[in-house]
Symmetry: C2
Subunit: 416 residues, 2 copies
């Protein structure tokens, strides 16, 4: 039986030390960790090869194998990622608010680490180094649970990072990996509320659902994006074409890609053929409502009700015509996943209605939804994109990995 | 079968309207609601009497009956509470951050409502009016689930409030009550993630645990407080006596009352008898470690390990001597519930160590833990005290009932 509780206790024991590390010390360790990754690239590649052999044996797709693969170049990029986090400002200790009460109490609201952060992920092994950098810089301890298919790579990366941390005189338990890949252990981890302050799932819809349904730890839900582009009647046609083309086709597999097109009826006849022509370059399949079907005729499909709620992650687009910006808002609020939505318009009034009425983390006027990203927002980092409203919404950088506490200074005050 | 889903759908349908109400309109409705409570006090008392009769029949304690009772005075106080919320600034629409990106995107981080807030409570019926005022002022829809024993009172209060809201031309579904008091309905409500954006339990440890374990909706955990007073070796004895006496005895049944006393060994012999003498006025039972037991001798009990982890909510105090502020911090972090902790000291260095090292929402130097309260903090309101680190920590006022969205203004930007 894997000693998950023992592992969690080690993280908790390390929490106080991690939270009190100076910015200088944290940056020193991040740089040492970056160098250690580079120095040990051959070891990392050897261990990664074990995962790759297994993947081949198990007939895992070429695409998945590529995601799994570590090369010297990729390891150096991971190291560079750690160095970049050094350059970001340390949010810990920031005085967020400060005020006095009539009874003389002086109150400071100060940014502090979350404590122990759990991250369950199923993607590339580089997430391991990435998650460590962001949680460590914010004074947190992290417990990682990666995918079974990358276990040897993750163990090797964590070993190299932990050794580097220890060399700097820091307790390496700031970074822990759950080495047991049984599903029961993962489920048990979601119940470790006594030890873990916040749990972040990173991966597909199935993983995220499992965490949300099973966890008793506060969760930050990241992920799915059924993003819409609404072309208002005053839209600039060329801009509309560019934005839709970018949002739909620049990278189809990501959460901020567009999945659905809404078009104002007054502009539909003019704009739909232009949009179709451009998206034909990538053979995007249009799934249309009655009116857009009539306009586009051959080469498009009829949409079903379910199509409007789907995150295709593919060269497929659902299409609907609407009578007004209000109808667009209602449609989006019914079908979206609260991720990213865009209006293309030249009418400031429509723009404001859309910005205020659409319920999503990021609402765009005249720009591609593909900008919903921590780096594009200038956060210098990203741990994920939150689609919930509690705590953080949209791209999460360093600040979103912190909490706060109130420090209250008195001189003997008691309550009457 | 109670139509819980139908009720949740009504809240969701009302969300857009609620979020876009102007401050003036919201204040108008709050004032109308306040007047309606006063105008209908006889009806409310009549309905409340049904609950009181039932309580008597069921042999519910006099204390509980008193908590349940509505009087003209209490109804007027509820109304006054609504009026006070009018005077608080409306946080909705506040621009929290605003910045430009090199590609010309202009990004605004704007405060918005959560959407639909669920509140499960088991305390006095006045929570109904209170919860409505705070959620409504922040542009949210609220679904309330009160205790079975107050169902007639809650139904009556909600009816009066909804009628007043409707008179102002606002959809009354901004305020909904789950009228079915079956436990299965409450549990089903905790699973309504599709409709409810955040769930706040208000009540005893059992309720909060049930919500945390069962909910798939993001939860804000409020509640239990195992709060410590640590008397450092440099503490002013009189101040120490006053603070402990206030924190332990001013109101024993609340979460910010002290439950445990830590004393530095160097001052223990001098201060413990003084503390004991003062707390004897309220017959506080001391449960002591070996050293404090020896010092206090007769009239105290020996503490068990479990005593240090207990929220007594009674005239009982666990006592422990420590070698240093560091030992105090470790002890507190092991046993506390991350609520409120205090050091009494004249040494600024010890104070800073304590403030930084203790893991709690509110950490005090030389003041009673009883100040952890939205009103005492000057928030003008309080929906509860969060003991978790995600989203809000400590007293939660209006701002803590909000989320944010990013509004992004472009002129055709697409991602390269």
């Amino acid at each position: 039986m894997y000693d998950l509780k023992g592992l969690c206790e080690r993280a908790v024991s390390c929490k106080l030390e991690a939270g009190l590390l100076s910015t200088e010390k944290k940056n020193e360790a991040l740089k040492a960790a970056a160098n250690a990754l580079k120095d040990n690239y051959e070891y990392l590649i050897n261990e990664n090869n074990k995962d790759l052999s297994m993947a081949k044996e198990n007939g895992i797709s070429e695409g998945m194998q590529d995601r799994l693969r570590l090369t010297k170049e990729r390891i150096y990029a991971m190291a560079e990622g750690l160095v970049q986090v050094c350059e970001l400002p340390d949010p810990i200790g920031e005085v967020m608010e400060e005020f006095d009460r009539p009874n003389g109490l002086h109150i400071k609201k100060v940014r502090v680490p979350m404590g122990v952060i759990g991250i369950i992920f199923e993607s590339r092994p580089n997430v391991t180094a990435d998650a460590f950098a962001l949680t460590f810089k914010t004074g947190n301890c992290v417990i990682l649970k990666g995918g079974k298919e990358a276990i040897n790579s993750n163990k090797a990366i964590v070993k190299v990072l932990r050794d580097a941390i220890e060399t700097c005189g820091i307790n390496p338990d700031v970074l822990l990996l759950i080495e047991d890949t049984n599903r029961e252990t993962t489920t048990a981890f979601m119940k470790m509320k006594e030890y873990v302050d916040v749990l972040i799932p990173r991966g597909g819809a199935g993983l995220i659902k499992a965490v949300v349904e099973n966890s008793n730890i506060p969760v930050i839900e990241t992920g799915t994006g059924n993003c819409h582009i609404y072309i208002d009647k005053t839209a600039d046609p060329q801009m509309a074409v560019n934005i839709l083309y970018n949002a739909k086709t620049q990278r189809i597999s990501v959460c901020n890609a567009a999945e659905s097109l809404l078009v104002h009826k007054d502009i539909a006849e003019k704009i739909l053929p232009l949009l179709k022509k451009k998206l034909d370059e990538k053979n995007v399949e249009f799934r249309c409502d009655e009116i857009s079907f009539e306009i586009l005729g051959d080469g498009v499909k009829a949409a079903t009700e379910e199509d409007y709620g789907k995150e295709f992650l593919d060269y497929i687009l659902s299409v609907k015509t609407v009578e007004s910006v209000e109808e667009a808002i209602l449609h989006i609020n019914k079908y979206n996943t609260h991720h990213s939505e865009c209006i293309v318009t030249n009418d400031p009034e429509s723009a404001e209605k859309f910005l205020n009425g659409v319920d999503a983390a990021c609402v765009y006027v005249n720009a591609s939804t593909r900008f919903t990203d921590g780096f594009e927002f200038g956060f210098g980092a990203e741990i994920g994109i939150s689609t919930q409203k509690l705590h953080a919404r949209g791209p999460m950088g360093l600040k979103e990995l912190t909490s706060y506490k109130y420090k209250i200074y008195g001189n003997g005050q008691v309550r009457a």
